[in-house]
């Protein structure tokens, strides 16, 4: 019984936070006109999408941080969980006529179960070998979708109609739809995707914050730092490790589901799925492993850095346009390497070190 009560409590807390956030957003957007420059300008649509992308990448990265950062299990397969989330939402809307919003929790929960399924065999496999087995998920998943998803023209691509990803009616209460007859632009759709991702990201952040300070969080860290010692103080190794897998998969699923709102499709290419898995890991490490704020900061840095590098005019001046485009992954890779030299403990870790150094001035050598 207590388990049911606890779950009910969590769900209530989720909904409560979500409603509170939505109210706050309404006050902000409608009374202050604060975001007019960004959100109501059709020319900035791609910028909103970029923010939304950073948010959902951040959600998945925060989940992965539970597994990799706090629990020390490196996964190169979370692109696959993300994909499962995206396909769950897309299939429910595409084949079964669901509205978007109810598909979001379903995507999360399905990934939660897939996470348990993956987490159980992962109990036997550690470190490097785990990284490779999970790499297998990234590689196998796209082929599975090709086999089992009947998308456009016999491919695994599911593309959604505009009305399927439009905001629900009650969203009008928050923001008036901004329609531009000339460009066929409906601003509210991008805003809806952004605000929804924003709300979920805040909830995710609160969850990670709560987990990091809970008994379960300490168990995660204990298992990471010394398995044998953790067992001797009565920690159920299997339960902790599988739970970490399931929770991280849950958030990856939510993120994947949200991504459908921006890309309007579910698709899984082999290269893309692997790159996404890598990107999530990079966001965690760049932001700061095992920190609450690190992954979301890392996600923003990574998403915007990639976009910024891709748009550098100086590059196109030096090389022809095609080569400049080819070069941008190289610049991102080099930036990544330099980043690891300068801040091996990530942005949050580095900032903490910096603050500590400022607060405590260098102690004078006490030779006397």
């Amino acid at each position: 019984m207590s388990g049911v009560k606890r779950v009910a409590g969590w769900v209530l807390a989720f909904v409560g936070v979500a409603v509170a956030l939505l109210l706050a957003i309404r006050i902000l957007t409608q009374s202050l006109d604060l975001f007019d420059g960004l959100f109501n300008d059709p020319n900035k649509a791609s910028t909103i999408d970029l923010f939304t992308e950073a948010l959902y990448i951040g959600i998945a990265a925060m989940g992965l941080n539970i597994l990799t950062g706090y629990n020390g299990q490196v996964s190169l397969g979370h692109g696959a969980f993300f994909g499962v989330g995206a396909y769950t939402s897309a299939i429910l809307m595409f084949d079964h006529g669901w509205a978007y919003l109810p598909t979001l929790p379903v995507a999360g929960v399905i990934c939660l179960f897939v996470g348990v399924l993956v987490g159980i065999p992962a109990l036997r496999v550690k470190g490097l070998y785990l990284a490779l087995v999970t790499l297998g998920l990234s590689v196998v998943f796209p082929d599975l979708t090709k086999r089992f998803v009947n998308g456009t023209g016999g491919t695994n691509l599911l593309s959604l109609k505009t009305e399927q990803i439009s905001p629900p009616d009650w969203y009008d209460w928050f923001a008036d739809p901004i329609a531009d007859p000339l460009t066929d632009y409906v601003g509210s759709r991008d805003q809806w995707a952004f605000w929804l991702s924003f709300v979920i990201a805040v909830i995710t952040l609160l969850c990670v914050w709560g987990i990091a300070r809970s008994r379960f969080g300490r168990a995660l860290i204990a298992v990471r730092d010394h398995e044998a010692a953790a067992v001797t103080v009565g920690i159920d190794l299997a339960r902790v490790k599988v739970s970490a897998f399931a929770i991280s998969a849950f958030f990856a699923g939510l993120a994947g589901s949200l991504s459908v709102l921006v890309s309007r499709l579910a698709n899984a290419g082999k290269v893309e799925t692997f790159q996404l898995s890598i990107l999530l890991l990079v966001a965690v490490v760049v932001g700061g492993t095992a920190t609450v704020w690190g992954p979301i900061i890392g996600a923003f840095v990574v998403v915007f850095a990639q976009d910024w590098i891709g748009e550098q005019e100086t590059l196109t001046d030096l090389l022809d346009a095609e080569r400049a485009k080819l070069l941008s992954p190289a610049l991102f890779g080099i930036a990544l390497i330099i980043m690891m030299y300068v801040l091996p403990d990530g942005i949050v870790g580095g900032a903490r070190r910096g603050l500590r150094a400022l607060r405590r001035p260098r102690a004078a050598p006490s030779d006397a």
Partner: protein
């Protein structure tokens, strides 16, 4: 029966390809404890270099030898310049650095050598023989021979020479090795150089058997090489070879005989890894570390 033998032969051919790159992965892991995600892309750059030399008119064998030598130096330099600064960091940080290297090398190769597919010349006549009804390609024989030589040389180097002992010592306990006078930095550079040289040889011999040299040439091979290395055990060169053959043969046979796996054959190698690792968590030939506290 002939059909079966032919599928087996195809599997072996694919298997030696995976094994030759897996060997390089194992070498770096065994000597430095690092899983090098950029191994395939290092081999890619080396292969492009071989191709360029051959295009400039060098005989292919000479081109390959020069490329192997240059790659040895390049690999050692990569260790010194890119990896050394993060040597003391957490394994995750090192993984991210090799991923950065992966992205950088792949995109630089495209910028320098272009995105068109190049035809990679062979160093030997492309013949094939009929052996008891099975078609045997010269490619397969050459790759098997090279792989066998590599294995023997590596085994001798690691198990029978002083340098090999020092390499293994550094992997096992860098500080203790340093305390008995082993120049750890040089050993790490040597290990990376050696792996890069193996990769160059693998790439230069394998790519001619494929459709052409493109920036993606090494990526699918690398995935299977990872699978092979994990299957055999990351610290065992022999394991890498056996793992490669198992992956290649399993893939070829399932493609031929198991229809419902059509398009999803890739499940086979990773399914195999999972099963093997569940039974032997350090791979078929890997040593489980025995340590007393």
């Amino acid at each position: 029966m002939d059909q079966f033998l032919q599928h087996l032969m195809n599997g072996i051919e694919a298997g030696v390809i995976y094994a030759s790159l897996a060997l390089a992965l194992v070498l770096i892991f065994k000597t430095t404890g690092i899983l090098n995600f950029a191994q395939g892309e290092m081999a890619l750059v080396s292969t492009y270099f071989t191709w360029k030399l051959a295009e400039w008119g060098l005989p292919v064998w000479v081109a390959i030898l020069v490329s192997v030598g240059v790659s040895f130096v390049g690999g050692a330099l990569i260790e010194r310049v890119v990896i050394r600064p993060v040597e003391q960091s957490s394994p995750l940080v090192i993984v991210i650095v090799t991923i950065g290297l992966f992205l950088a090398l792949n995109s630089l190769a495209q910028v320098i050598f272009g995105t068109d597919a190049h035809l990679m010349p062979r160093a030997y006549p492309n013949e094939s023989w009929d052996l008891l009804g099975v078609n045997v390609e010269a490619d397969t024989l050459v790759l098997i021979a090279v792989l066998a030589v590599e294995c023997v040389v590596l085994w001798y180097l690691l198990q029978r020479t002083k340098v090999g002992l020092a390499l293994r010592g550094v992997a096992s306990n860098p500080e203790s090795s340093r305390l008995v006078g082993v120049p750890v930095g040089s050993m790490l550079m040597f290990g990376w150089g050696l792996a890069a040289a193996l990769g160059a040889l693998a790439g230069s011999l394998v790519v001619p058997t494929t459709a052409g040299l493109t920036a993606g040439s090494m990526q699918s091979i690398l995935v299977f090489a990872f699978a092979a290395a994990a299957l055999g055990g990351f610290d065992s060169p022999l394991g890498a070879v056996v793992g490669g053959l198992i992956v290649g043969v399993a893939q070829s046979l399932t493609t031929a005989y198991v229809d419902w796996l059509n398009d999803i054959e890739i499940i086979v190698p990773f399914g195999l890894i999972l099963v093997v690792l569940l039974i032997k968590p350090a791979g078929l030939f890997g040593k489980v570390r025995v340590e007393r506290v």
